[in-house]
């Protein structure tokens, strides 16, 4: 005598709206870190990077933005996020203090290959952080990504969507 075979037919689902199926996904977020430029002369030189953001997430005020930031700005962002949010913030590429010592054979921290390594790691860092649902609630992240300049005297707060 055979056991009855279990009913494994799929549960009913609403058919998908074609706009939803073929339209742009609502999770579009692209961040590029590029165009490193070294500004200044001699001992006061520093490198800035272009941060270009394209998105359709409603939590970002601007759907497209482009700002320039330096390594110490990234350090500021990381410490703000660690303090203000519950996110486990990924590490930044190293400070490269060694490279800042004199009498080096190469260009130190202005060496092309070093800058490229750092650029790539900063891009990975930003993509990881900006895509985190909790980090997206932090004012410091939005200021870093989309405001003209970073105001380090700001008041930390959470973004609330209407």
């Amino acid at each position: 005598m055979a056991d009855t075979i279990a009913d494994t037919r799929r549960l009913f689902s609403k058919p998908q709206n074609l706009n939803d199926a073929y339209g742009p996904p609502s999770n579009f977020l692209e961040i590029d870190v590029s165009n490193p430029e070294t500004i200044g002369v001699a001992r006061t030189r520093y490198t800035t990077y272009e941060i270009r953001l394209k998105t359709n997430l409603p939590i970002f005020k601007l759907k497209e933005s482009s700002v320039r930031r330096r390594y110490s700005d990234f350090e500021w962002l990381r410490s703000e996020l660690e303090r203000e949010s519950k996110v486990v913030v990924p590490p930044l590429p190293g400070k490269a203090l060694f490279r800042q010592l004199p009498f080096r054979g190469d260009d130190g921290i202005f060496d092309d290959s070093f800058i490229e390594e750092r650029r790539h790691a900063l891009e990975q860092f930003l993509n990881k952080v900006a895509g985190h649902p909790l980090a997206q609630n932090e004012r410091c992240l939005h200021m870093f990504l989309q405001d003209e300049s970073v105001d380090k005297t700001y008041t930390p707060s959470k973004i609330r969507q209407a």
Binding site: T4, D7, R9, K14, Q16, D20, Q136, Q161
Partner: protein, 333 residues
């Protein structure tokens, strides 16, 4: 004196009367080995023979009594000294005296209550066994025979589906549904995940079955989690309005029925864990408890027509005519 190696000794052997016909079930032991033991259900009689074989024929064996016990006990690994016996029956086979030759004793434990299922876990073990003992002044001779007990349940009267909407505000909203809340061990989990809002980049989604063994009471409660199964149900990024089906056959996994507060000593519970993983390896999950139960392999012949229809209805067979003909065939045979 037996410790000089000259004294008489005996070997004990326990044989069940229905050893030829009784089914055996596999059961994993503490060290992971799988062995087969005789399978018993609650209320069944345990009967058989105890063979006491003298090591040196011709020599007498003096003893303080021969008995057989049927024991059901719970053993917590962190408290090995204290066995908690919840079933303890004893039958005296011989009064103190002496055996002049090997002898066989009959025993019967009638309609023994076996309220819980045999279980060997990470921190606790529940077992049933027969123990025959020849008591002696200095050292007893005993032999144990382990048996396995399964607890059977009937189809639950109420078996509602699990349906819930969960998510992270403005980031990810899903509605998940599982067709039942109580599944038998050879059942199929049929469900679906419906995406209402997707603002994160999902890489894949899986469903895990987690077994949680809880031992101890009050402040000394200890949970042991074990992921029994990991089953990927989606690979790729879903969008709003998409529905992902779930079909997970439970027969392929080693699971026990859910056990709730067994003799106030331990519990074994099962959870379905729905896990979504995004492009940055972040995990989003929702755990939901399910109840597992053991279905009996009852021969359909003995079931009434009504009972057959009722049990098929729970399986979801949609064709009432089909079940009608099936039972007609059974009535004829």
């Amino acid at each position: 004196m037996s410790f000089f190696g000259f004294g008489q000794s005996a070997d004990i052997d326990i044989v069940l009367n229905d050893a030829e016909t009784r089914k055996k079930a596999e059961h994993k032991s503490e060290d992971g080995r799988k062995d087969k033991y005789f399978l018993f259900y609650d209320g069944e009689t345990v009967s058989g023979k105890v063979n006491v074989t003298l090591k040196y024929p011709g020599k007498r064996l003096e003893h303080n009594g021969i008995k057989i016990e049927f024991i059901g006990q719970i053993e917590l690994y962190y408290d090995r000294g204290n066995h908690h016996e919840f079933v303890s029956l004893v039958k005296d086979l011989a009064r103190p005296g002496e055996l002049t030759q090997s002898q066989t004793f009959d025993f019967e434990f009638t309609h023994v209550e076996k309220p819980y299922e045999s279980y060997t876990g990470q921190n606790v073990k529940l077992r049933y066994f027969l123990r025959a003992t020849v008591s002696r002044r200095l050292n007893d001779v005993s032999k144990e025979l382990d048996i396995v007990v399964h607890t059977l349940s009937s189809y639950p009267e109420l078996n509602s589906s699990i349906k819930m909407e969960v998510g992270i505000e403005d980031c990810l909203h899903i509605e998940f549904e599982y067709n039942k809340s109580k599944y038998h061990l050879k059942d199929v989990i049929v469900g679906k995940i419906y995406f209402l809002l997707v603002r994160i980049k999902i890489k894949h989604m899986e469903i895990d079955i987690i077994k949680r063994e809880t031992t101890g009471t009050g402040p000394n409660v200890y949970h042991e989690n074990d992921t029994i199964a990991k089953y990927e149900i989606m690979d790729g990024a879903p969008v709003r309005g998409e529905s992902i089906p779930i079909r997970l056959f439970l027969a392929g996994y080693e699971m026990t029925p859910s056990m709730r507060d067994i003799n106030k000593k331990f519990s074994v519970r099962y959870y379905l864990n729905l896990v979504l993983i995004d492009e940055e390896e972040r995990r989003y999950f929702k755990q939901q408890e399910i109840t597992l139960w053991r279905k009996g392999d009852i021969v359909r012949k003995s079931m009434s027509h009504q009972a057959i229809i009722a049990s098929q209805r729970f399986e979801g067979s949609s064709n009432p005519e089909k079940s009608q003909t099936q039972s007609n065939e059974e009535d004829d045979s």
